[in-house]
């Protein structure tokens, strides 16, 4: 197990190193001369001399590998650079906005997990019941509806027509409800299918027939015998869905006017704020690699079969 963890962590670091090179190269490949852009922003119609001065000031006249190592050194020390748009420290600006996004992502993930697993279990307890059939249809609709449209419809219903909930901004638990629901719905639908299909498969196995023949109740069998079998596929699906949710946060923060880290990225995309883009993509890569590594390790810890496979050298 320890060797497995060490190997996974080493791979993760390697992937991150490749990602950092990719992110850095993307910026140098971008059309337009950054020195020119910055100089133009400082004073309209900047002449050649000013552009060259900015280039030296930003260190853009040095060779590429030197600039890469310099940038990486700064990043490792926690200095992500300065935003071209706001002239503020990226690290400080991100730190200020991150709690909002974390709230949104955690809320949506919890909603997806609870609703998804709950509906999946109910479907297995009462197969082909009205709820089971309805949830299957709802799942397809939930995956198909674009999140910004779902958000707009929910605002129309709960904020404009019924006036139960605020339509935008962050102001207490009532305002968290719609954004988290909108963001988590599609993922909840996917998870409910994973749980439902996994349970159906487990329920058709022979040990379940044995348990039934011994007179045990269906509820007990579903919860105690079948459910543990679904843990690993659910966890793997959840890891993918967390990625989907983090990406979706960009759209949801735009719909509900939340000033989070995701919208900070979107603004950087719109204004072609290269230092922020670089920082954001690198953080995003780090986040993804961490989640994937953690899930791989957790799956192995949960499922004894995988551990045994390692012990027998079957990987």
């Amino acid at each position: 197990m320890v060797r497995f963890i060490l190997r996974r962590v080493a791979t993760a670091i390697l992937v991150l190193a490749v990602a950092s090179v990719a992110v850095f190269t993307l910026v140098t490949l971008a059309p337009g001369d950054p020195a020119q852009i910055v100089a133009e922003r400082r004073s309209f119609g900047a002449d050649r001399e000013m552009v060259e001065r900015v280039r030296a000031e930003l260190g853009l006249d040095r060779p590429l590998p030197v600039r890469y190592l310099d940038w990486l050194g700064d990043v490792v020390r926690g200095d992500l650079g300065t935003s071209l748009r706001t002239n503020g420290e990226i690290w400080a600006e991100l730190r200020e906005r991150t709690p909002t996004t974390v709230l949104l992502v955690v809320g949506a993930t919890l909603f997806a997990l609870i609703a998804g697993v709950g509906i999946g279990i109910l479907g297995a307890l009462f197969p082909s019941g009205l709820g089971d059939r309805l949830s299957r249809l709802t799942a397809l609709a939930a995956v198909s509806i674009p999140s910004f449209y779902l958000g707009a419809l929910l605002v129309l219903l709960f904020a404009v027509t019924l006036q139960w909930l605020p339509s935008e901004g962050v102001s207490g638990p009532a305002s968290w409800l719609l954004p988290c629901l909108t963001l988590g719905l599609a993922s909840g639908a996917v998870l409910s299918r994973v749980v439902r299909v996994g349970l159906a498969e487990a329920l058709s196995s022979r040990y379940v027939t044995t348990a039934l023949s011994r007179g045990r109740g269906r509820t007990g069998i579903v919860l105690r015998d079948a459910l543990p079998n679904v843990a690993v596929p659910t966890l793997t699906a959840l890891a993918t869905q967390i990625g989907v949710i983090i990406t979706g946060a960009i759209v949801i923060e735009a719909v509900f006017s939340w000033q989070g880290a995701a919208i900070y990225f979107l603004e950087a995309v719109k204004f072609r704020d290269f230092p922020v883009l670089q920082a954001w993509l690198l953080l995003f890569a780090a986040l993804f690699v961490t989640i994937n590594t953690a899930v791989d390790i957790a799956a192995r810890a949960i499922d004894p079969r995988m551990r045994r496979a390692v012990a027998e050298g079957m990987t």
Partner: protein
Amino acid sequence: MKGVAIVVGLFALLALLGPELAPYAPDDDDLEHILEGPSAAHLLGTDEIGRDQLSRMLHAARTSLSTVALVLAGALSFGVLVGSIAALRGGIVDEVLMRITDVALAVPNLVIALAILGFMGAGTTNMVFALMLAAWPAYARLSRTLIVQIKRRPYIEAVQLMGARRTWILRRHLVPAVLGPVLVYATADAGFIVVSVATLSFLGLGVQPPTPEWGQMLVSNLQFMETRPELVVFPGLALTLLVIGFNFAGERVALDRVPRPLSKRALARRRKEALA
């Protein structure tokens, strides 16, 4: 399942004929009739500068379907090209290409597209390019796996022994065999790309006004939602229906390729035929 074919077919028809069917030009403003509700003259009402909503939505159908077709065509051909090179060359080339697709597949498509748009700037052309770059790795991976499986089959060895050239085998045997599964995947992918196009346009990075596009219409009408909710509801509805149509179609095509157990009725019929 006929219903699904009808939905997608209807949208294709709308995209082809929509602009001709539209009662007004998409940018035909009328400042004396702004933000009006549905009427005989404007079946779905008008927006803040009096443009006919129905006409704009019909034009948007063509925008959506043509961008999706472009993205799919680009991603598919580039992906299959990379996949075939990896499968046929093997060795280090295969290794490098597949590690690149690994990384690209691990990052959500929307993030890849946003990153590329951040470096290139917003606009329809850049969006199509960005979405192609985000979508191709799945096709590369799929076609590589298929070709590696097929190229060991006896009939390929047979034509090799007959002295066929590699490009000929690729063109006559490998690409046709790969195309089926790849097209199935593309059908399922289409719904996802429709949403991506609308989302990027909603965020202000894709199709730019005044060109009508559903996501972009929705975002610019959002501010009038309290008085004219239909300006938001209908573009979104059109979009959602198209996505559901593609998703159903994708699921259907995928299922049709997998041999299914016979239904009870079919079994009974076979039994009867066998006995007769």
